[in-house]
Symmetry: C2
Subunit: 207 residues, 2 copies
DNA sequence: TACATTACGTACCGTACCGTACGATACGGA
DNA sequence: TCCGTATCGTACGGTACGGTACGTAATGTA
């Protein structure tokens, strides 16, 4: 009876959500019509759509909320780098974290999602802050935590770690913004800059 | 005859452009109808609109292009801080520049403009790169130039100045992105963080 | 004054879209 | 086998929008 619910209604719902996600990410909210979603989902009747989602807005919120929440957290990374007790350990932790953030930003969904959330802040004001709190804010917190832990082990000097974290994340963010403003998949590859960025931040906090 | 052209046709054209600018910035491209622009411009007939602009797209491009170009350049600032010959001079230059960039980002049009350019990269692919080249890229170039000049006077150490510039600008950019993702005019005031940010960058490049 | 440009009003065309209605049909569980 | 639910097809209502048409009035110039 539990999986009985899956067998048709749930499957249809999943197809609708997958199609909506793809189209919304590709074309944005307004440019994606419910009928296009219906076709992409392989659903014959609009009535079926509206049986699963009461309106286009609710469907959009559901899809975008899921997309935001599905962003992989950095939690695993935090566990992997517990307490940097010397400079090389801190360097390794920050470098790995920076590369991880960059590869997160290069996931194919990332820029389109960010683009849509920025575009639709007026109509859906709750989505943008949710994303910010779920993704970049968490990144800032992890960088700050690493730095504070390093200071507690006398690895680095005191500093405004929140600002240091903003500088590090922001350095990467400049490339994302460049990507947001470019139309196609402009090759956005500062891979060699990442290590330099970490070195600069380390110099700023070294003893 | 020259100002005769101004007297009516040009005035009407200006009213249309001003109204379009306001509405586009407030509501975006799709949500702004030509009829709303007509009303806001105080123009009685749509025919008049289409006498001045052949289509909604052309009107949008004209308005956004002007908005991008009107962003005040930093050129005046460059002249004001010619060649930092010691650390205090470099500190003054970078601090002033950072505050200037921040106040640029806090102009009431800035975030809405950026939001729209990001939202409409698909329909208007040329506008985003134009903005990036006109505004942030120029900021990066000026920061980099200041750092290179300081190094030429033995004020600071060698470093990847392009990356340092990205970290500095990016640190400020994190606040802008936060603003982009927030709906209203969330008070986005890291004023006290700016000096800390400059100090961090200076520590990263000191001798 | 005579003429051309500009603006006015209003109506209209074609299209696209969200959401609803409703009878018919397939499907899945008891 | 039987019943409720999910889906199908198709049509429609209401609205909004971009852009055009066209006859008329105002405005500035020679």
């Amino acid at each position: 009876m539990e999986d009985g619910r899956d067998s048709r209604a749930q499957q249809t719902r999943e197809r609708i959500r997958a199609a909506a996600r793809r189209l919304f990410l590709q074309q944005g909210y307004q440019a994606t019509s419910m009928d296009a979603i219906r076709v992409a989902a392989g659903v014959a009747s609009k009535e079926t759509l509206y049986r699963h989602y009461p309106s286009k807005e609710k469907l959009f919120i559901d899809v975008m909320g899921h997309l935001t929440m599905e962003r992989p957290g950095f939690s695993a990374m935090v566990a992997a780098f517990p307490e940097p007790r010397d400079m090389p350990a801190l360097r390794r932790a920050l470098t790995t974290l920076a590369h991880e953030i960059l590869s997160l930003m290069r996931q194919p969904d990332y820029l389109p999602l960010l683009r849509i959330l920025i575009a639709e802040t007026a109509r859906f004001p709750e989505l943008g802050p949710l994303f910010f709190a779920t993704v970049p804010q968490r990144g800032l917190a992890i960088i700050g935590g690493l730095l504070r832990a390093a200071r507690d082990h006398n690895v680095i000097a005191d500093a405004e770690y929140e600002v240091v974290a903003r500088a590090l994340l922001g350095g990467l963010l400049t490339y994302a913004v460049q990507g947001l403003l470019a139309a196609g998949d402009e090759t956005f590859t500062p891979l060699d800059h990442v290590d330099a960025l970490v070195e600069i931040m380390l110099r700023a906090v070294e003893l």
